[in-house]
């Protein structure tokens, strides 16, 4: 094992965190408001779509070993390169800013209630920028370390909530129309589009032996879907569908109940760390990719200045504007289409520029 390379396990843990961003960026309430108890089936159906997309993404990543920025530089002449870069930059920028704004309002509402939004966003952005400056290898190592932590938090939360579960709250099932179920499955599927695309920011040359690069990420994609499914089941069975529909983060509401032997109580802030991690990696990789795109156009690389600029723009935009969920979903659809066109163009150009 080469220490300076990203292992397949680290790549898989990154995939895991990126996919888990669904709970923060889209939220369980989006599904439950649409199709009630049947939203647990939406996760399963959407999960199947995600697994199909995952195999396609991992195949593409294997076929085109360069990262997305290097691919654009190598394959395209200047005009398509500028057009693709502009649109990718725009879409990734919007989705990352959206994730950032969701994360800081989550922190402000549930964790740091007395701290101002600006203070939270500045300190969070400094941490993110610091991680990004360390490069993709450090990012993936962080994801590996926090993966164990995330599993522990998930198990801790699930065990603590077991006594509050009332499985009859999950009934009745199969009461919504096929159209509604399909539409919420597609929302879950779309939520994975931007996270999967962000994986293309990692060039294959940064990875070690690529033999296991299909199996492990695929397994952890499956694990992420399973966790989402279990978590939604726990939420509905504890709160009932009516209360689940009210809260934007029903998981935080049920965490408030956890108490071990009346000694270990009020652990929701500790458990909220999982939500933070799920959102954090999307923002980190988003900013990493945006920075790569900017620097691919600059002759003299000024990574730190461009990073500081990105951070500043993120803070200003999140302070001034609020981003609706629809915008994030539209961005996902646009990215899905743009990525399709990009792959077709890649097949057409076949390194003719180089």
């Amino acid at each position: 094992m080469k220490l300076d390379k990203i292992t397949s396990y680290q790549y898989a843990t990154l995939t895991f965190f990126l996919l888990n961003s669904f709970s923060m960026n889209v939220g369980y309430y989006t599904l439950t408001n649409q199709c009630g108890n049947d939203s647990i089936f939406s996760i399963l159906l959407g999960g199947i779509f995600i697994l199909i997309l995952a195999s396609f993404i991992f195949y593409l990543h294997h076929k085109y070993p360069e990262g997305i920025v290097q691919m654009m530089q190598k394959k395209f002449p200047i005009f398509p390169k500028v057009v693709f870069s502009f649109f990718f930059f725009l879409l990734i920028g919007i989705s990352s800013i959206y994730s950032f704004s969701i994360l800081i309002s989550f922190l402000h509402y549930y964790v740091l209630k007395e701290v101002g939004l600006l203070v939270i966003s500045v300190s969070l952005m400094i941490t993110i920028l610091y991680i990004v400056t360390k490069g993709i290898k450090t990012i993936s190592k962080i994801s590996e370390i926090f993966f164990y932590f995330s599993i522990f938090i998930f198990l801790f939360g699930s065990i603590g909530l077991m006594k509050y579960m009332n499985l009859s709250n999950l009934k009745p099932l199969l009461t919504t129309t096929v159209r509604k179920s399909l539409s919420s499955s597609l929302i879950y599927f779309l939520s994975s589009m931007i996270p999967f695309f962000l994986l293309f920011s990692i060039p294959k040359k940064e990875m070690e032996n690529t033999k296991h690069f299909k199996k492990l990420p695929y397994l952890l994609t499956l694990l992420s879907i399973l966790f989402t499914f279990i978590q939604l089941m726990i939420i509905i069975s504890v709160l009932g569908i009516h209360l689940t529909n009210i809260y934007q983060h029903p998981d935080m509401i049920i965490y408030k109940k956890i108490s071990f032997l009346n000694i270990l109580e009020r652990v929701e802030v500790f458990l909220a760390f999982n939500n933070i991690l799920n959102s954090l990696f999307v923002i980190i990789l988003g900013i990493y990719l945006l920075n790569q795109m900017i620097n691919s156009f600059l002759k003299k690389k000024k990574e730190h200045i461009s990073l500081a600029l990105i951070g500043l723009i993120f803070i200003i935009v999140t302070t001034l504007f609020t981003f609706p969920l629809d915008l994030y979903l539209m961005t996902s659809i646009a990215l899905f289409l743009l990525f399709g066109i990009f792959i077709l163009c890649c097949l057409k150009y076949k390194d003719n520029h180089s």
């Binding site: 009859s168 009932g240 009516h242 209360l243 408030k256 730190h304």
Partner: protein
């Protein structure tokens, strides 16, 4: 550059930007809400931590305010308190009949909107004594909660209700219940449970009815319905279209005639509320969960329900050998 960013980060993320000392907090222990003359009356019992010789001492203080909205009433408290009202540790919410009848939905909205509450504290209904008078007695929430829990476990003549379960029940069919207390001769007195229908107080259940209700709901742990003492019980409920089957696995002091004695009482209890169009056990919700198609195509389902009871009674082991002393003599 990196060094400066790092130093700035450390300065900003120390978490000390808006700290509050414990002695600057008024920790709310009990919160009471009444509604009189088109105004909310808010009474809170707080635990004030005062710093005395470097040690924090606990004092109970009662604050009262009146306003046309609950939010304003909370703000008015600050006219009297120089400390931050900390709602995260609230243990008991006391509501009066007027507050429920006029603005229960507003009260619930207030709790849902404020993230500081934990929503798993008990809620009770106070009767026959003004809220302010009761709150000025400064009875600790823990004491009332303990009374409720002990009574529930030992007699089943009451049942604690927390805010979140109450909200869940109200969201299902706008009906719920609240344990009821009053205060007489310097003593807290439990008065069973009060039913709430469409966000309005409906009626108070008698102690025997409360026991039967707990028995049917499978929430009974131990009780006495003269001459029987129930030591253990498990109620299994099944539904088949509009037929409701209750199966009781009960351990009693004497098996003889238990079934014949309890069955008519249960039937009369259920039919009484059926005729009042009050789904006391949320049975229609059970049918909704178990047989959704039937639920959808049957209007007025509650009035069509038929009840069936079956018993599997076990007598509690008695280790006394021979006859009791006074009988022998």
């Amino acid at each position: 550059m990196k060094k400066w960013i790092f130093i700035l980060g450390i300065l900003l993320s120390t978490g000390c930007t808006s700290y509050t000392e414990l002695n600057e907090l008024s920790i709310v222990n009990t919160l009471g809400i009444d509604y009189q003359e088109n105004q909310y009356q808010l009474v809170i019992n707080v635990m004030d931590g005062s710093l005395d010789d470097g040690k924090i001492e606990e004092n109970f203080t009662t604050y009262t305010s009146q306003a046309s909205t609950l939010e304003e009433a909370f703000q008015m408290i600050y006219l009297k308190s120089n400390k931050r009202i900390y709602l995260s540790h609230i243990d008991l919410l006391i509501l009066t009949e007027e507050a429920i009848n006029h603005h229960l939905s507003n009260i619930i909205n207030n709790f849902l909107q404020n993230n500081e509450y934990r929503n798993n504290f008990n809620v009770i209904l106070l009767k026959e004594i003004p809220l302010e008078t009761f709150m000025k007695e400064q009875i600790e929430a823990e004491q009332i909660n303990h009374l409720l829990n002990t009574n529930y476990k030992e007699t089943a003549m009451s049942k604690p209700q927390d805010l979140e379960t109450m909200m869940q029940e109200l969201f299902i069919d706008q009906n719920t219940f609240l344990p009821t207390i009053t205060y007489e001769n310097q003593e807290i007195l439990l008065r069973g449970i009060t039913l709430i229908k469409n966000y309005q107080v409906l009626e108070e259940l008698s102690t025997e009815d409360t026991i039967l209700w707990n028995l049917l709901k499978n929430t009974l742990q131990k009780t006495t319905i003269s001459p029987y003492t129930i030591f253990e019980n498990q109620t299994l409920l099944t539904t088949k279209k509009n037929e409701i089957y209750f199966h009781f696995l009960t351990t009693v002091n004497q098996k003889e005639n238990f079934e014949q004695s309890i069955k008519p009482k249960l039937l009369s209890f259920l039919t009484k509320f059926q005729t009042k169009d009050y789904d006391i056990l949320k049975l229609t919700q059970k049918i909704y969960q178990n047989d959704y198609r039937y639920y959808q195509k049957t209007p007025n389902l509650l009035s069509k329900l038929n009840f069936h009871f079956s018993f599997e009674t076990k007598e509690k082991e008695n280790y006394l050998q021979g006859e009791l002393f006074h009988e022998t003599r």
